[in-house]
């Protein structure tokens, strides 16, 4: 049913439809509306879940870890510092192969403290073993949650999934969203049947000490599953598209790439703005396009190479930095093209929209303008030079 609804409320509706048995979270802006809504649903009897109001994000992640290991579908949501506080549990969950789904309301990292949107938080946890999917709009965010549980709980995967939504832009934005019925979701997402669990009738030790004889293989196994996920995620998306009539094309989404000479690679809600700019520039005869990355982990290197091999100039837009090195998505895109015969002449890297600074149409136009024959590395867009003049002598 179509509703005019805030992003966080829509996510809470999606999570309710996924029927998690245990929900645990700790409040942090801008994630709060999601967990408040879920608490209200449980309180009103609209959702049959155990909600555990913990004393920290570390414990929130630990609670869902324990619940999932007991064979129950579990859910948590966080943001920014909260995600960092649960970081060791995040890695632990992936290592234990527990199919937990988490929503992250993407937010900048302190210091200086800043509650607004960029993607430094989840991008910094890219090596954790979690699958990371990034939403462009609220409908995406809702739909990705249904797909996230299907992907996570499949016996060929058994990996946790993070659904990443830009803080405020998507959590507090309001859009018309199609919220499916319980019957539709139940049909797409059957009850969770664990491969293994804590069971007094079939005792098992989970999380043993593993020495050098065995450790490497546990990491290798996750790496191989991520490779499998590159094929499996598009399959689930195709199933979803068929069942719900909304098209999800896979790991990346091409927008007006045909004959494009300049293409931006980006992730998340900024893609909406980029599409508007493309339509405008195309009407003036400029051959520009967008490649949206939906799955950041696993990183779809081959899909990106296939989509961009005929493009001469690629600009990678990062809403995060890897201080002291190439910006994260740009580094991955460059690595994907390394050694490839058919590759763009220029892959430039742009850092934009940190700590909630608006990425306007002009910001995007500036990136297209700068995307010339000279390769740019970590070019900060919309920088204010006047703020950098202070001296401490």
């Amino acid at each position: 049913m179509k509703q005019f609804i805030e992003g966080s409320h829509a996510v809470a509706e999606a999570v309710r439809l996924c029927r998690p048995g245990v929900i645990s979270a700790y409040p942090i802006t801008p994630q709060t509306h999601i967990v408040e809504d879920l608490a209200a649903m449980v309180s009103e009897g609209k959702l049959d879940s155990q909600t555990v109001n913990v004393e920290s994000e570390h414990s929130a992640a630990s609670v869902v870890l324990g619940a999932s290991a007991t064979g129950v579908r579990a859910y948590t949501a966080t943001s920014s510092q909260g995600l960092f506080y649960m970081m060791e549990v995040v890695f632990n969950i992936a290592g234990l192969r527990l199919p937990i789904v988490m929503t992250d309301a993407n937010r900048a990292i302190s210091a200086p403290i800043n509650i607004w949107n960029d993607q430094q938080d989840t991008i910094s946890l890219r090596d954790s073993g979690w699958i990371q999917l990034y939403a462009e709009n609220i409908q995406d965010t809702v739909d990705l949650h249904f797909m996230a549980y299907r992907i996570a709980e499949d016996k060929s995967m058994m990996l946790p999934v993070m659904v990443c939504m830009d803080g405020f832009t998507l959590t507090h934005g309001i859009e018309t969203v199609d919220i499916p019925s319980q019957e539709e979701v139940d049909k797409f997402l059957p009850p969770y049947k664990p491969l293994y669990k804590l069971d007094v009738d079939n005792p098992m030790t989970i999380g043993p000490l593993v020495d050098p004889e065995y450790y490497t293989e546990t990491r290798y196994a996750i790496e191989k599953t991520h490779e499998e996920a590159l094929k499996f995620i598009p399959k689930v998306m195709a199933d979803f598209s068929k069942a719900f009539g909304r098209n999800y094309n896979g790991l990346v989404e091409a927008y007006r790439l045909e004959d494009a000479e300049k293409v931006i690679v980006a992730m998340g809600s900024v893609c909406g703005t980029i599409k508007d700019v493309i339509d405008e520039l195309r009407s003036k005869g400029k051959k520009v396009g967008l490649l949206k990355v939906v799955s950041y982990r696993p990183f779809p290197g081959q899909a990106i190479c296939d989509a961009l091999k005929k493009v001469s100039k690629v600009g990678v837009l990062d809403r995060a930095v890897s201080l002291g090195a190439t910006a994260p998505i740009a580094a991955d895109v460059k690595a994907a093209f390394f050694g490839k015969k058919k590759a763009p002449k220029v892959i430039s890297s742009f850092v934009v929209g940190l700590g909630g600074r608006d990425i306007t149409k002009d910001s995007i136009k500036e990136i297209y303008r700068l995307l010339g024959t000279k390769e740019l590395s970590g070019e900060f867009i919309d920088l204010k030079p006047e703020l950098l003049k202070e001296s401490y002598e």
């Binding site: 048995g21 245990v22 645990s24 049959d48 879940s49 155990q50 555990v52 109001n53 913990v54 004393e55 920290s56 570390h58 414990s59 630990s62 609670v63 869902v64 870890l65 324990g66 619940a67 999932s68 290991a69 007991t70 064979g71 129950v72 579990a74 060791e88 549990v89 632990n92 234990l96 804590l198 069971d199 007094v200 079939n202 005792p203 098992m204 030790t205 989970i206 999380g207 043993p208 000490l209 593993v210 020495d211 065995y214």
Partner: protein, 293 residues
């Protein structure tokens, strides 16, 4: 072998109080129990892949989160409707409980989960090589509170963790000892018969960290109690309902057979301070046999 819930063949040291206490705890709790274990000696010596000493479901996640993981296990069992027939035990060492795990423990106690938390108190970080913890006794020589020309060891007394647990308003708190097996098992059985959060702190000597001969485990455990340095008591809903009464022995008898206190043996001033700690416990908990009728 397969009938025991915590099998022999694990790699604990000879004379380890924790391995003895852990077996007593799970045997008392029975097979319908899920164990959630923090990182520490117990997890290391009992679950080195591909072997495990545990014949009950067992999960280890991290150093400090067993209370939170157990909260998740318990919530999942409630969701499944099976909590009433399954016990959940969270267990950890003293560092994993009193220091790095205190926040998670406090959360678990405050939220009222139906979980028994067992702290095996060997009074320092033994798994990493005898560093002091919040439960290391006063004047103990550890690798991070070394006795030397200007120090007689750990400068602070033990954190009063049982009382901190009591302050959460939980239904049952007890201390126990690997030197008193029946008493420990009675307390475990009592704890799991009570709904809600329960905390038992078990004194569990460590031959390497405390530097004693491995056959002295039971002797040392008993002396800790009999000197008043490790009082055994029970709190039910905030009220003391049980105490192990003693005919107090001087603290030197306990201290002199452990390498960790060797530096104190000729230091009468420090010995006096430790005797005062024991005397204070004896008074506070009413431990002296002739004191009460």
């Amino acid at each position: 072998m397969s009938n025991t819930l915590f099998s022999a063949g694990h790699t604990a040291c000879a004379g380890c109080g924790q391995s003895l206490a852990a077996r007593l705890v799970i045997d008392a709790a029975g097979k319908n129990t899920i164990i959630v274990n923090n990182t520490g000696c117990l997890e290391v010596f009992s679950t080195k892949y591909p072997e495990s000493a545990w014949n009950v479901p067992f999960i280890h996640s991290l150093f400090e989160n067993c209370a939170a993981v157990a909260s998740g296990v318990e919530s999942a069992l409630k969701y499944l409707g099976t909590k009433d027939r399954i016990n959940v035990i969270a267990q950890a060492g003293d560092g994993g409980t009193a220091d790095i795990g205190l926040q998670a423990l406090s959360g678990m106690l405050e939220r009222g989960h139906d979980i028994l938390y067992v702290c095996y108190d060997n009074e320092a970080y033994m798994n990493t090589g005898v560093q002091r913890s919040g439960l290391t006794p006063f004047d103990t020589n550890t690798t991070t509170s070394p006795a030397g020309a200007r120090s007689s060891g750990n400068v602070r007394p033990k954190k009063p963790l049982p009382e901190i647990a009591v302050a959460h308003g939980i239904p049952y708190v007890a201390t126990a000892s690997s030197g008193f097996p029946q008493d420990l098992q009675r307390k475990v059985k009592k704890a799991i018969s009570i709904k809600g959060p329960k905390y038992i702190q078990v004194h569990a000597p460590c031959p390497l960290g405390w530097r004693y001969e491995s056959d002295a485990l039971v002797l040392i455990s008993k002396l800790a109690v009999d000197t008043g340095l490790y009082p055994l008591f029970e709190y039910e809903s905030g009220v003391i309902t049980g105490r192990k009464q003693i005919t107090p022995k001087p603290v030197e008898e306990y201290l002199k057979i452990q390498g960790r206190f060797k530096h104190l043996m000729s230091n009468l001033e420090e010995l006096k301070k430790i005797q005062e700690i024991a005397d204070s416990n004896i008074k506070k908990y009413g431990l002296k046999a002739e004191q009460t009728a």
